[in-house]
């Protein structure tokens, strides 16, 4: 042990001597290259003295409090500590000669490091007197100097404030990217920030290169500028990035975060394209590889309008909001307010007066459709900051109150659909800040509008757009919901454009023929009729004709029987549905309103307990050619007093359609000349062969009946 301490004592003298020489005269010394390797050991060695010193300090403290430690432990540790401290310090000095560090911080680290080594050596050599007070103080100071040396070393490698940085706001200090940001700031500098500046900043300036700002980056490093505009091959930046990763000159150094492929390609392309540092990124076409590689996204600039008045209190604004009046700030943190009124029947002028409490803040008001007259405009005059007023569909229009015309900031006035006259608008035009007026559908004529535009060219006069085109009217609307007319239910028609003429015929002819009537009052029918209607109006083409088949229902049979059951799939509601006066529709023929026949004829018997004279029998038939529902081949009506011995009364052959017809329900009328029997039998035969335009195979047609009327 004695031996060890003696040897180390000599070594400590030698090493610390060397250290002092190295530390303070390194500029005058030539340090052999191989020693550089020793220098690189500094970051490894430095942990040893820190650990040793702390362990020693703890044991030293324990020894003083309680005996029991081997007496030679502390001196041994002290010698070991002093040895590694001296070695670390020497290596550190050698490392510092590589350069690239902030000189001020480096000097502090150098001095404090050297001091640690010297103090440790002193502690080791004076270990025998370790019970004295000065020794304890010296020991304490060693810890303090160690902390200082460690701190400055940390600053050298990791930059200032490395330790506390995680607690700080991480939001970058770079300004947000806007449309006018240069491509360099938007795409290149962020790469430097992320991957380069940790070693190339103002404090740690490896290779004398600083990349934190454009002007410093342009200055280059110890080998001159790092890029040559337009020539990537001559630019050391590109060269080093694309060197193999294990190459000594490769940047960023092995072990540091590497550039991504996109980033390195972007840097190379940018330099090849001329390394333009002033061009705004938006001026580069989005299809340009540079833009695609950079993938910049901008945040849109929001221009905030400056209002120099105060905020109204939130409570006040809240109080002004009712279901019929909305008062809202234009945006959060904006003092300006906009007011809107709703529901004409709820409006009262006091609701306008109540706004006086925000007279400074109100910049826009919408009174569209409210009960507002010229004299109410006077009330608007108190809102000195008004910029926009909407008065559409109010009754303003003849005289503008003077006070209103003095509104200094009013830019936009809308009086569409009002009684506004030419003189009224000429007065409005005197508003000092006026930019636009909307006056469609007012009492201003075309020539007057032209005069306004000429007299006040700075104002945009929007009059609206009228078409001179002639359009086709839509057909009139049938008000009745049922197509079965009874004696006391007249037919009502209407058209959505008030004042449009409705023309109609009830005899099946087109309503442009001689028999046309104009609809003036509800139409009363007394038989099955095809009512054809159309609408006509000046300045429009008449509407297309629409036809409605109205069934007249006079006598209701007392009972009915189907002598031939309907097709299995279409039995519907059976015989009762034939005289319930409820119509089906021809596109829903599966419903119970219908009975369907195909292979057998329709055969039904009707009974009247009190026979009445019958003028016509009308069979209501479904027409739906897509589903093979067509007119029957023939209809026969039989009658008599004994159901077993009926005689034929009439027979007709309905005309088969030869063209495609729309889906509808149509009547087949069989006239009877006023006979009155208790029993009638109807026989209707489905067509055995469909026309070719419906079915090429000439199959049998279907017969669907929903109602039989006796009139």
């Amino acid at each position: 042990m004695q031996q060890f301490q003696r040897v180390t004592a000599y070594l400590l003298f030698a090493l610390n001597g060397l250290l002092v020489v190295l530390a303070f005269f390194q500029d005058r010394l030539h340090i052999p290259q191989w020693l550089g390797v020793l220098g690189r050991l500094h970051p490894l060695l430095l942990h040893l003295p820190i650990g040793f010193l702390i362990v020693t300090a703890v044991l030293f403290w324990i020894e003083r409090k309680a005996n029991g430690l081997p007496g030679e432990l502390i001196p041994f540790l002290l010698h070991a500590t002093a040895m590694v401290a001296a070695g670390t310090a020497c290596a550190g000095v050698l490392l510092s000669t590589e350069g690239g560090y902030d000189p001020v911080v480096l000097t502090r680290h150098l001095v404090s490091g050297t001091l640690v080594s010297l103090i440790c050596a002193a502690l080791a050599l004076l270990a025998g007197k370790r019970n004295s007070i000065p020794y304890v103080m010296l020991f304490s100071s060693s810890i303090v100097v160690l902390v200082a040396a460690g701190h400055w070393g940390g600053v050298l490698t990791h930059g200032n404030n490395y330790l506390w940085q995680p607690l700080e706001d991480r939001v970058g200090t770079r300004p947000a990217i806007t449309d006018s940001t240069t491509f360099f700031d938007a795409a290149i500098q962020p790469i430097f920030d992320a991957k380069c500046v940790s070693c190339h900043n103002e404090r740690k300036t490896k290779g004398k290169l600083v990349l934190t700002r454009l002007d410093k980056a342009l200055r280059g490093g110890e080998h001159g500028p790092i890029w040559v505009a337009g020539s990537a091959s001559e630019s050391s930046l590109v060269e080093r990035i694309f060197l193999p990763k294990d190459h000594e000159e490769h940047m960023p150094p092995d072990g540091k975060p590497q550039l991504t492929a996109r980033e390195s390609r972007l840097l190379r392309l940018w330099i090849e394209n001329g390394a333009n540092t002033s061009q705004a990124w938006t001026t580069i076409p989005p299809t340009d590889s540079l833009r695609i590689l950079a993938a910049i996204s901008s945040t849109p600039t929001i221009v905030k309008k400056a209002y120099n008045f105060d905020f109204a209190s939130e409570k006040l604004i809240e109080k002004l909001n009712t279901p019929y009046r909305t008062v809202q700030p234009l945006a959060a943190n904006e003092p300006a307010l906009a007011a809107e009124f709703f529901l004409r029947s709820a409006f009262e002028t006091t609701m306008l007066e109540e706004l006086a409490v925000v007279r400074k803040q109100l910049v826009s008001i919408n009174l569209s459709g409210m009960k507002i007259q010229d004299r109410d405009l006077e009330r608007l005059a108190q809102f000195q900051n008004l910029e926009k007023v909407i008065l559409n569909n109010t009754t303003v229009g003849s005289e503008v109150p003077n006070a209103f015309l003095k509104l200094p900031r009013l830019q936009s006035v809308a009086v569409s659909g009002t009684l506004a006259t030419f003189p009224f608008l000429k007065q409005i035009a005197q508003l000092p800040a006026l930019k636009e007026v909307f006056f469609w559908n007012t009492r201003v004529s075309n020539t007057e509008a032209a005069q306004l535009a000429e007299a006040f060219p700075k104002i945009s006069w929007v009059r609206g757009y009228e078409t001179s085109e002639v359009l086709t009217l839509t057909p009139p609307i049938l008000v009745n919901e049922e197509l079965v007319a009874q004696a006391n239910v007249p037919i009502r028609l209407k058209h959505n454009i008030p004042g449009t003429r409705i023309l109609y015929t009830t005899d099946g002819t087109e309503p442009d023929s001689v028999s046309v009537s104009e609809y003036l009052e509800p139409i009363v029918l007394d038989r099955y009729s095809v009512v054809k209607i159309r609408a006509c109006r000046d300045g429009w083409y008449c509407s297309p004709v629409t036809a409605y088949h109205f069934f007249y229902a006079k006598h209701r049979p007392d009972s009915a029987w189907l002598l031939q059951p309907p097709d299995k799939a279409y039995r519907g509601g059976g015989a009762p549905v034939l005289y319930d006066f409820k119509k089906g529709t021809a596109d829903s023929f599966r419903e119970s309103a219908w009975v369907g026949y195909r292979h057998q004829p329709f055969l039904a018997l009707f009974e009247f307990k009190n026979p009445k004279p019958i003028q016509e029998v009308v069979l209501s038939v479904g027409l739906n050619m897509g589903a093979y529902l067509v007119m029957p081949q023939s209809v026969e009506v039989w009658g008599g007093t004994d159901p077993g011995a009926l005689k034929p009364l009439a027979s007709i052959t309905p005309t088969a359609y030869t063209t495609w017809q729309s889906v509808r329900v149509e009547g087949i009328r069989v006239p009877l000349r006023g006979v009155s029997y208790p029993y009638y039998k109807i026989v209707a035969t489905p067509t055995p062969r469909l026309p070719v335009f419906i079915s090429k195979k000439q199959e049998k047609g279907w017969l669907f009946i929903d109602e039989v009327f006796f009139n």
Partner: protein, 482 residues
């Protein structure tokens, strides 16, 4: 004895109190020293709801949704090359592996086909518009034509859901619900989000109420579908014999009962219900005023076309949309069905165009002449585009087009967008985007921006994370902002 000790310890006397307080305060102070921002609220402070984040360009939106995907190649994206190369195969270098729907993926050939309909240049900037849209062409200077919308969905339902909710799967809140949530309603007597449906004469695709759902937002933000009958809102009238005073009393008592239920269960939906009853009560006055079309002058009827007086037509919905917008409804969503021309393009496209052309143009001009176009954003478009090659049989007289997600055209007009302006460019084949693509997320971000909302700040916490209309993507398309 044991209990007394326990009680003694539980009893907090002044000394205990001060001692613990000191410790607590000390720890808090130490914490704040170590982490200065410890007592600040969330790092990301979320803006207040019910008011725009910054001054908006538009206050309201009318979305004229052309459901079924109208062909961009027959409407606003003119590609004469397709006419000269008609019948030749779509080059693989253009298709570039794009997946196709099951409806054409089995086709042996993909013959290109150009528009059957002619194009002409219109407006101050000579924008190409097909002859099928003569009225929209007349007002093309009001429109911003975005030719480079693109989507990931290839079938109607996911594509439609994506356009409306920012996600393909459904159950996320619809755009209108987000706006109602973010900006509140202007007119408290009407729903903030109204939905109007119409059906064209072309091949149709369904729309479902999930498209106007409130998703995870409060149900008060749900879209209200109007009926296409003469009474747009059903059951609004009081039953015969009920007086308005009687109705008021009934609602007051019902509200008391509901408040009791709310105090017991705390279910926010009960509050929503009370609010909705109150709104319905006010709607009884507001809606008749709103839906009364008899006051519209004849030249307005001419502008929109006479169908605007026939309830349930696209024209009638456009007119109603204008009236709703005038009455401060935040978001009016129209859907016009029938744009799915897989075949019979030549037969159906003119009918569809005829349905919407006049009324769409009229709506723009009608808003303009009332001075409210600058505060209203009108959007016109479908859920994806249609292929440049023919689906099914190609003849000189007719052809069809399949779904195409890689590019389609959407039009915007009004509040805050550039008029008479074309944004983005597709290749000569009308297949790929070559300049300024606009993804659906970008589209949504831009719409929110126009409405004064930062799409990254309009969030709702659901299932443990904050959701946005644009979820985790989207950039504002600054190029179209006026």
């Amino acid at each position: 004895m044991k209990n007394e000790f326990l009680e003694h310890r539980l009893n907090i006397n002044r000394r205990h109190f001060l001692g613990k307080l000191g410790l607590g305060l000390g720890s808090a102070a130490l914490g704040s020293l170590l982490v200065p921002s410890l007592w600040q609220s969330d790092h990301e402070e979320l803006p207040a709801l019910g008011v725009a984040h910054f001054a908006p360009k538009a206050k309201r939106i009318i979305y004229l949704f052309q459901n079924g995907a109208p062909s961009q190649l027959e409407s606003f994206d003119y590609k004469p090359l397709l006419n000269t190369m008609a019948g030749q195969d779509l080059p693989d270098s253009i298709r570039n592996g794009q997946r196709l729907t099951g409806m054409t993926s089995n086709q042996k050939r993909f013959p290109l086909v150009g528009s059957y309909f002619k194009f002409h240049q219109h407006g101050q900037n000579g924008i190409w518009v097909s002859e099928l849209f003569p009225n929209m062409a007349k007002v093309i200077d009001e429109f911003c034509v975005i030719k480079t919308m693109h989507t990931e969905a290839i079938n109607h339902d996911p594509a439609l859901t994506f356009m409306q909710t920012g996600a393909q799967q459904g159950n996320r809140p619809s755009m209108g619900a987000w706006l109602s949530y973010g900006l509140g309603s202007e007119n408290k007597n009407l729903p903030a989000f109204c939905v109007l449906l119409s059906r064209g004469r072309g091949n149709g695709q369904g729309v479902y109420s999930k498209l106007w759902t409130n998703g995870f937002l409060e149900s008060v933000h749900q879209g209200v579908q109007f009926s296409s009958s003469e009474d747009p809102i059903l059951y609004l009238n009081d039953p015969a014999g009920t007086t308005r005073e009687g109705r008021r009393k009934m609602l007051d008592h019902l509200a008391q009962l509901n408040t009791l239920a709310f105090d017991e269960s705390g279910d926010p939906e009960i509050k929503t219900k009370i609010q909705q009853y109150e709104m319905a009560y006010r709607m009884q006055l507001a809606v008749p005023e709103l839906t009364d079309l008899s006051q519209e002058p004849e030249h307005i009827v001419k502008m929109y076309g006479p169908e605007c007086l026939v309830p349930g037509t696209y024209a009638a919905n456009c007119l109603l949309a204008r009236k709703l917008c005038e009455s401060g409804v935040r978001f009016v969503q129209l859907y016009h069905q029938g744009w799915d021309q897989h075949g019979n393009m030549v037969g159906e496209m003119p009918l569809q165009a005829q349905d919407v052309d006049r009324a769409s143009a009229a709506l723009i001009m009608d808003l303009k002449q009332r001075g409210i176009l600058d505060e209203t954003l009108v959007i016109w478009g479908g859920e994806f585009g249609r292929t440049n090659y023919c689906q099914g049989d190609l003849s000189k007289e007719n052809y069809g087009r399949d779904h195409h997600p890689r590019c389609y055209t959407v039009l915007m007009a009004g509040g805050g967008v550039k008029g008479g302006f074309v944004y983005g460019e597709t290749d000569e084949f009308g297949y790929n985007i070559i300049k300024d693509p606009v993804h659906i997320n970008d589209f949504h971000a831009t719409i929110l921006h126009l409405m004064g909302l930062n799409h990254e700040k309009l969030t709702y916490k659901h299932l443990g994370r904050r959701y946005r209309l644009t979820d985790v993507a989207g950039n504002v398309v600054t190029g179209i902002l006026a």
